[in-house]
């Protein structure tokens, strides 16, 4: 089963976005 490989560090995400030339998908959720 595929799983989204979520990050939880914005700085790491932005660095990866620069390196990989991809947009950042930022998901805000309610953990309930």
């Amino acid at each position: 089963m595929a799983e989204v490989r979520w990050l939880n560090d914005m700085n790491e995400a932005l660095q990866r976005a620069k390196n990989e030339k991809k947009p950042v998908l930022l998901d805000f959720f309610n953990p309930g």
Partner: protein
């Protein structure tokens, strides 16, 4: 989203391949305030500098989530003045997800991106005619109506 959409094989594969996914609780500081999060789920697309270009709030099923993200990617490219890339993403969306609810908005933005790329107003008129013919009740047909007056 966490129960239905994100576990979907196609959705997960698309997200992993085409984006850098970050997940946070609705009250995570400082980002929840920075992005003015008032309701969830809220999905936002950012460029590599962290600037927001697209947002969708509320549940989307798998079959609508990927086209919604593609529209968001179109908007990222458009805002960054990468017009050819924006048009290409729109082509992918309309070919692979022709029944998606975001197709009319995609046709609108493709017309605008084509105009910005070429400065040829016929692209705006063509977008309106396509919307009028294929999606006459769409709000995007209404938004494009003035383009019919272009010569």
């Amino acid at each position: 989203m966490g129960a239905v959409t994100y576990p979907d094989e196609k959705v997960a594969a698309f997200i992993n391949a085409r984006t850098v996914p970050v997940q946070m609780a609705y009250d995570a500081k400082p980002y929840a305030d920075d992005f003015n999060i008032q309701w969830t789920p809220a999905v936002i697309l950012l460029d590599e500098d962290g600037k927001e270009h697209f947002r969708t709030t509320g549940f989307l099923p798998p079959e609508e989530f990927i086209p919604s993200l593609l529209l968001g990617m179109l908007k990222v490219h458009f805002d960054l003045k990468q017009f050819r890339e924006a048009i290409d993403v729109g082509d992918t969306l309309t070919k692979e997800y022709p029944k998606s609810k975001v197709v009319p908005e995609t046709i609108f933005w493709q017309g605008v991106a084509n105009y910005e790329d070429t400065h040829d107003p016929s692209h705006l008129k063509a977008a309106y005619k396509k919307l009028k013919a294929e999606h006459p009740s769409s709000e995007w047909a209404i938004r494009a109506e003035p383009y019919d007056l272009l010569r």
